[in-house]
């Protein structure tokens, strides 16, 4: 029996690498479980108050990092204030986010041009009549839901700024490329053109053409826009400092709007064949009352799946990286960094790939759904 392959050093390295990875992951899961147990224990007896606060702090920090914000935090106490625009009962109220300090615990009343407001975890509410037991102007019902009224928040938040930056980048790059094609017609591509031409052709030949057939031409602008928008924002979300780090594609409102665009395109472009499949499916007639609802559910599930897939993948990646860094603080040892930081780098590189794959999947599924809508009926049916 030849066992030499087991002693192959490369293989040993790989096996030990994965062994460490998995033991580490299970350790992380264990510590989390332990923390959860601690939390419930503390909540029950109110004895272990200290570890409870610590663990809650860390999950708060992680969730704070992936959430939208009224200011763009750089480091320490340096942050870029962003305009807050609220539609309140008294009409439009605007101010810069740093005008009333950084109290977001709901303990401080804000007087914005005569409109009383309170900032609680980065969201603006109308204050309750009086302070509640925890010292905030926020009142909760028996289920713990906030009962305060809320003005309509249309602020330029961190995500909106990030969105605008990415739009400017995309416009500059692609208008430049389009002009280069006009100017250098018939010549070899140059500069940015030669970097992005293979990717544009990839979207056309591997995404649009297989799904849409000879009708691909009309949908190319949408598919290319969605692909580069999602990809650029996935990558910008991975940059930890300005102008990145806004986690735009990990915001479900953004992915919902993208999915809605695909939904509108499929609905508007759906031909007789497509709607025929929905309202007269190929089933016995007595199944119609059941199958038509099923087909209609299918119409809405497709964009919802699109929305959740992108949101969940990007959010999960960000939480994973932040959790690995947080291990240093959970285990309270600087030596954990020796393991945690290489893993953070490892996951970050994976996230670079995931950023591309998710943009690709979003685009190919959009193309597939549009393709199903514009497909001619098959002769064999």
């Amino acid at each position: 029996m030849d066992l030499s392959h087991i002693f192959n050093s490369k293989k040993i390295f790989r096996i030990s690498f994965y062994a460490v990875l998995f033991s580490f992951l299970s350790f992380a899961a264990f510590s989390e479980e332990h923390a959860a147990a601690d939390t419930s224990h503390a909540a029950a007896t109110e004895v272990h108050a200290e570890p409870k606060e610590k663990d809650e702090d860390i999950s708060k920090v992680i969730l704070h990092h992936i959430a939208d914000s009224h200011e763009w935090h750089f480091f320490g106490h340096v942050a870029l204030p962003l305009p807050v625009i609220l539609w309140t009962d008294n009409g439009l109220v605007t101010f810069m986010s740093d005008k009333f300090g950084h109290n977001d615990h709901g303990t401080e009343l804000i007087d914005a041009d005569g409109t009383g407001l309170v900032n609680y975890h980065g969201k603006f509410y109308y204050p309750a009549e009086s302070k509640s037991a925890d010292g905030t102007y926020i009142s909760h019902d028996s289920k713990g839901e906030i009962t305060n009224g809320k003005p309509l928040d249309i602020s330029i938040t961190k995500n909106v700024v990030s969105l605008l930056i990415s739009v400017v980048i995309l416009l500059v790059v692609f208008i430049g490329i389009a002009n280069a094609y006009k100017k250098r017609e018939g010549k070899a591509p140059k500069g940015m053109q030669s970097i992005l031409e293979p990717i544009i052709l990839f979207v056309r030949d591997d995404i649009a053409k297989p799904q849409l057939g000879h009708k691909y031409r009309g949908f190319m602008p949408y598919l290319l826009t969605v692909f580069f928008f999602v990809w650029l924002n996935n990558l910008m979300g991975l940059v930890p400092f300005f102008p990145g780090g806004a986690n735009l594609t990990g915001n479900i409102a953004v992915t919902m709007m993208l999915a809605l665009c695909t939904f509108v395109l499929t609905t508007v472009n759906g031909n007789k064949n497509y709607w025929g499949h929905v309202f007269t499916p190929h089933v016995p007639w007595w199944l119609y009352p059941l199958m038509i609802p099923v087909e209609i559910v299918g119409l809405f599930v497709k964009p919802v799946a699109l929305m959740i897939r992108l949101f969940a993948n990007i959010t999960a990646g960000h939480i994973l990286i932040l959790s690995l860094i947080s291990l240093i603080f959970i285990l309270k040892s600087v030596f954990v960094a020796g393991i945690a930081i290489p893993f953070v780098l490892f996951i970050s590189v994976i996230e670079l790939v995931v950023g591309f794959i998710q943009a690709f999947i979003f685009t190919i599924l959009s193309a597939l759904f549009i393709g199903m809508a514009v497909e001619e009926s098959h002769a064999e049916h």
């Binding site: 030949d205 599930v301 919802v304 190919i364 599924l365």
Partner: protein, 81 residues
């Protein structure tokens, strides 16, 4: 010129029909569709039970089973295509 363009597109279509990518994209949507169908039926059953104030939520249970059956039927139908 136009004719040849059309022809090359047809060829592309035929060539790409066999690519695993297309079927992969198709199948990933099916799981979500199954979940959606079951969820909608369960929700409808739950609401009906709530409306009539049933002590035992048998409509929810029946609707769930119906949803599972229909989603499996739907998947088999799609796989046959």
């Amino acid at each position: 010129m136009h004719q040849s363009d059309e022809n090359s597109d047809r060829k592309d279509e035929a060539r790409n029909e066999n690519q695993p990518l297309k079927s992969y994209a198709r199948y990933t949507g099916m799981a979500f569709q199954m979940m959606g169908i079951i969820a909608v039926f369960a929700f409808a059953g739950y609401k009906i039970d709530e409306w009539y104030g049933h002590k035992v939520q048998w409509v929810t249970a029946l609707a769930c089973v119906l949803g599972v059956c229909l989603s499996i039927y739907q998947i088999i139908r799609q796989l046959k295509e």
